[in-house]
């Protein structure tokens, strides 16, 4: 804990990974665990004494939770999200709340109302988003474990940009209770870690049916530590030809193709698959996600909590509060979603998008008849410089072109480091069948064991490999 806090003190001012740090409380809590460690033989919970960073859209009792927005500045939740309760019960120590694009809407953390986070690999570049703060905190060695949320790639894309592991579980595996909603049918909480083993460990703590979230799956969880080392021999890995075409940068294509070959060398079979409907994933996503967001964000009205801009009448108070409280991208998405749900447009936009979503899900199901996993890049590029895409929302949206279809289909997907391009990390994405999270993690773990990419650290963040925790990930 001491070493981690030293790195925070040294590097956080430049990175801005956190919106709220609880270093003092964390230090104190850690001492409590030290005492218990000393007493030999007592059974420790799985995350005993381990520091964890939480994306600031996860409600924490007594700790400010802003979702990166002015409209929630100063709000202190009276309750813990289910995942926070489970982390506490597992002995984890909360080190702080991490930066994000406002209400998780963005791919660069540039939409945070409290300023962007910098990429530990290159401070002139974005860390990705929207869980940019969590990915940067892990990459910088502040914490071995962090939580993000992923609506269209918000765990996997920043994990790829920051050279760490980001896992989005199957929709319904992890309770959303206490996650400030962006798009309810797409949002999923997941781990951001240094190793796949750590991601599996954290996922095991988070996952499972929650009576407070009726969309959680009532499906048995496998013993992840038992299956993790199963290797990839005999697994069929599908490469969708649509994911390797136009828009994909050559250096990324090269790294991802090489990763596929490594998996083949480890005993997997590579198969060619087709997912033609993912060409429509982006517009489909931006109709469904914004529709849900437009009503999820209706509650920020100045009446009960958060920002209130005083005004003469009720409707003036509503409009002034929301005009001043929300940033430009959030407003853009609320307007788009409101439009898509409006009378006369609902059938043509929202319902049509739902039909395409079903189509995408069916195509994945068909692909899984001939493949056990799907392999794609996490993003078409490596981390881009600040400001490069802020002027053109569509360019920014394209950063999630490979991650969005996975949310639309509700599938598990992981991003793991698979190379460096110009000194910046490249992410490899593996996607599995619904509720088959373990095969995704198993293959990712096998790849990680066979390669060294996960051991590379950004310069200036301390000793390589120091963040390795849990059930025995590879040491460099």
């Amino acid at each position: 804990m001491g070493a981690a806090l030293d790195r925070v003190t040294r590097l956080e001012p430049a990175l801005h990974a956190f919106l709220h740090l609880t270093a003092d409380e964390a230090r104190q809590e850690a001492r409590g665990w030290d005492g218990r460690y000393a007493r030999k033989g007592s059974a420790l919970p799985p995350l005993a004494g381990l520091p964890v960073a939480l994306k600031d859209n996860l409600c924490t009792r007594g700790l400010p939770t802003t979702a990166g927005s002015r409209i929630l500045e100063g709000w202190i939740p009276p309750y813990d999200a289910t995942v926070v309760e489970r982390l506490r019960a597992a002995g984890a120590i909360i080190l702080g709340k991490t930066n994000l694009d406002e209400f998780a809407m963005g791919s660069s953390t540039e939409n945070s109302a409290f300023g962007p986070t910098r990429n530990p690999w290159d401070p002139t570049r974005v860390p990705g988003g929207s869980s940019g703060g969590s990915a940067a905190a892990v990459a910088a060695g502040f914490v071995p474990l962090a939580l993000g949320s992923d609506t269209g790639g918000s765990i996997r894309q920043p994990a790829g940009f920051c050279g760490v592991v980001g896992f989005k579980p199957t929709y319904g595996r992890v309770s959303r209770y206490g996650l400030i909603a962006f798009a309810s049918s797409l949002d999923q909480i997941g781990p951001i870690t240094r190793t796949v083993a750590d991601a599996a460990l954290l996922f095991g703590v988070l996952a499972g049916r929650d009576a407070l979230d009726s969309t959680t799956a009532d499906a048995p969880m496998p013993d992840l530590s038992a299956v993790l080392n199963g290797g990839v021999r005999g697994l069929r890995i599908g490469l969708p030809r649509e994911a390797f075409g136009e828009g994909l940068r050559d250096e990324v294509r090269g790294a991802v193709t090489a990763a596929a070959e490594t998996l083949r060398d480890l005993g997997a079979t590579l198969v060619d698959i087709a997912l033609p409907a993912i060409a429509y994933a982006l517009p489909t996503y931006y109709l469904i996600a914004t529709s849900e967001a437009s009503t999820n964000l209706a509650r920020y009205d100045g009446v009960q909590y958060g920002l209130r801009v005083p005004a003469a009448g009720l409707y003036e108070m509503y409009t002034q509060t929301r005009a001043q409280g929300f940033g430009a991208e959030v407003k853009r998405r609320i307007m788009l979603g409101t439009y898509a749900l409006s009378a006369g447009y609902y059938e043509g936009f929202f319902l049509k998008a739902q039909r395409v979503r079903t189509r995408i899900r069916q195509e994945f199901e068909a692909a899984f008849a001939s493949a056990d996993l799907v392999l794609m890049p996490t993003s078409p590029t490596v981390a881009f410089p600040f400001g490069e895409k802020t002027a053109d929302p569509l360019q920014m949206y394209l950063a999630d072109v490979y991650t969005i279809p996975v949310n639309l289909a509700g599938l598990p997907g992981v991003s793991i480091p698979c190379g460096l391009a110009g000194g910046l990390p490249v992410g490899l994405q593996l996607i599995g069948r619904a509720l088959d999270d373990e095969t995704v993690l198993r293959a990712a773990h096998a790849y990680e064991r066979a390669t060294e990419w996960h051991t590379y650290r950004p310069r200036g963040t301390g000793e390589p490999g120091t963040g390795n925790v849990g059930t025995g990930g590879a040491q460099r």
């Binding site: 859209n57 996860l58 409600c59 939770t65 979702a67 929630l72 709000w75 939740p77 009276p78 309750y79 999200a81 959303r176 209770y177 206490g178 996650l179 400030i180 909603a181 798009a183 309810s184 049918s185 009576a211 407070l212 979230d213 009726s214 969309t215 529709s291 849900e292 437009s294 009503t295 209706a298 509650r299 920020y300 009205d301 009446v303 009960q304 909590y305 009720l314 409707y315 509503y318 409101t338 749900l341 409006s342 009378a343 609902y346 929202f350």
Partner: protein
């Protein structure tokens, strides 16, 4: 209830939307209690406050009560239905959307296409069709404070937010204000019989809005107004009668009726247009993504249907067929669950159904009506009424005396036998008690006593009158006569 035209020849067309608070322990989407009258904001949690990150979880008991209603109203129960978000901004709506069941082709509400038979004037049934039964959450309660802790402010009590509501919507099948009242009364009795609702309109656990329009008989439907804020069965009838007359006056002037929402003012006995400007609201309904589709298996629906108790309409027919009650009495005996239960238990103790219903329809209802109270508000049980009727049968009290005992019984809850004994409303037949009275009267009136002994019958009448005066008319005349003869025989 025969279709009736307004005097001018217009036909009244009424459809009702009834909001029913379901009798559940907890709210629709969280575990908070639903107790009526708790101090403001003491029954809340992140879910019913709509706090960021909170999620709804459907109350299974509320679904069961909705299904019981759907089954009792002979509806088609949909095996797969969904909840929707109805989006609009108002401070009583913490999320700024209400979770409800919208009628949409691919996502039907819980149940549709049912009906409720009403007792007609000659006892024949007339069916009011039910368009749909669906579930939704209630809003918070706004209090506009004139005085108190926050004068000039609006206060919000979230205790009522997310309380389970069921909406029952009829087709426009009702043709008179009295018919609307009758329907609502019969629906209330049904909801009580199946233990879905308390039916207390004054507590807001049953709320009724009405759509009303006029048309030439058989013609196209006229422009309707929606009438709200009717807080009793009586005010439903009064408000609709007022509104029908108002629309008629407008039409007779040759003016068009404006489509608007109007509120009933009970005190002034008028409807008035809401101040808020009527604009076509786009609620942007869409399926609630935080809830999974509600699936009701055929088996579960069948089980619910099989578990229903005897419903008021079946019970009413049984009272006519088995007990021989007149149609009007049978309708009244089944007008509420409390009344039916009271009637049946009284009949069990005093097996003369027609006598029991006569008393309940007549004197009991009369007293309750004059005091504006309901049967369940008075401390009287079937045992009380049965005992009173037994006393009449035994000859302990006359029918007239029984009518005098009734109000005392309704007020104090004392048993009639006890009232008779202590308050002395029974006849005095005890020779010892009467002898004492006779001796006192004879001693006080020596003159007339002597005249009686001398054989003057006029004096006997006087003496008898004095004895009755002393006993406030309760002396048994036969026993007094016999005793007098013994005392006065020379």
């Amino acid at each position: 209830m025969t279709p009736r035209a307004a005097p001018s020849g217009y036909e009244i067309v009424i459809g009702l939307e009834i909001h029913v608070q379901l009798r559940t322990q907890s709210k629709m989407f969280c575990a908070c209690p639903t107790t009526f009258g708790a101090p403001p904001n003491t029954q809340t949690c992140p879910v019913c406050l709509g706090l960021p990150g909170s999620l709804p979880v459907l109350n299974a008991r509320a679904v069961e009560l909705g299904l019981r209603t759907a089954a009792a109203l002979e509806c088609q129960i949909h095996t797969r239905s969904r909840f929707h978000r109805k989006n609009y901004y108002y401070p009583d709506l913490p999320k700024n959307y209400q979770i409800t069941q919208y009628e949409y082709k691919v996502h039907p509400p819980l149940a549709t296409q049912g009906g409720l038979d009403l007792p007609g004037e000659q006892g024949e049934a007339r069916r009011v069709h039910i368009r749909r039964v669906h579930l939704e959450e209630d809003t918070a309660r706004l209090v506009h404070a004139e005085t108190g802790v926050a004068p000039g402010h609006s206060l919000i009590d979230f205790n009522r937010a997310v309380v389970p509501l069921m909406e029952v919507v009829t087709e426009p099948d009702l043709r008179s204000p009295s018919g609307a009242r009758l329907f609502l009364g019969r629906l209330r009795a049904l909801l009580q019989a199946i233990e879905v609702s308390t039916g207390r309109m004054e507590e807001g656990s049953l709320r009724c809005d009405a759509n009303i329009s006029l048309r030439s008989p058989g013609g196209a439907l006229g422009v309707r107004t929606e009438v709200k804020n009717m807080n009793s069965l009586r005010s439903v009838e009064r408000a609709l009668a007022y509104e029908a007359a108002r629309q008629q006056a407008i039409l007779e002037r040759g003016d068009p009726v404006g489509q608007e929402t109007r509120h009933w003012d009970e005190r002034r006995a008028v409807t008035f247009a809401s101040r808020t400007k009527e604009e076509a609201q786009d609620y942007r309904y869409f399926p609630e993504p935080d809830l999974v589709p509600l699936v009701v298996s055929e088996g579960a629906a069948a089980e619910i249907r099989a578990s229903l108790p005897e419903l008021p309409e079946a019970r009413r027919r049984r009272y006519v067929d088995a007990y021989g009650l007149p149609a009007h009495d049978a309708a009244l005996m089944t007008s509420s669950q409390a009344m039916a239960a009271f009637f049946e238990e009284t009949v069990r103790r005093h097996p003369h159904p027609r006598t029991v219903s006569n008393w309940l329809v007549g004197d009991v209802a009369g007293h309750l009506n004059s005091e504006g109270r309901e049967l369940e508000d008075v401390p009287v049980t079937p045992a009380h009424l049965a005992e009173l009727l037994d006393l009449v049968d035994e000859g302990t009290v006359s029918g007239r005396t029984a009518k005098e005992i009734l109000p005392e019984m309704l007020h104090s809850g004392r048993m009639p036998r006890e009232i008779v004994a202590s308050g002395g409303l029974g006849q005095i037949s005890d020779p010892g008690e009467l002898t004492a009275v006779i001796e006192a009267v004879l001693a006080a009136h020596p003159g007339p006593a002597a005249e009686v002994r001398g054989g003057k019958s006029a004096a006997l009448t006087f003496i008898m009158g004095q004895i009755m005066k002393h006993t406030r008319g309760r002396a048994n005349p036969e026993v007094v006569g016999r005793l007098l003869r013994e005392h006065l025989t020379p």
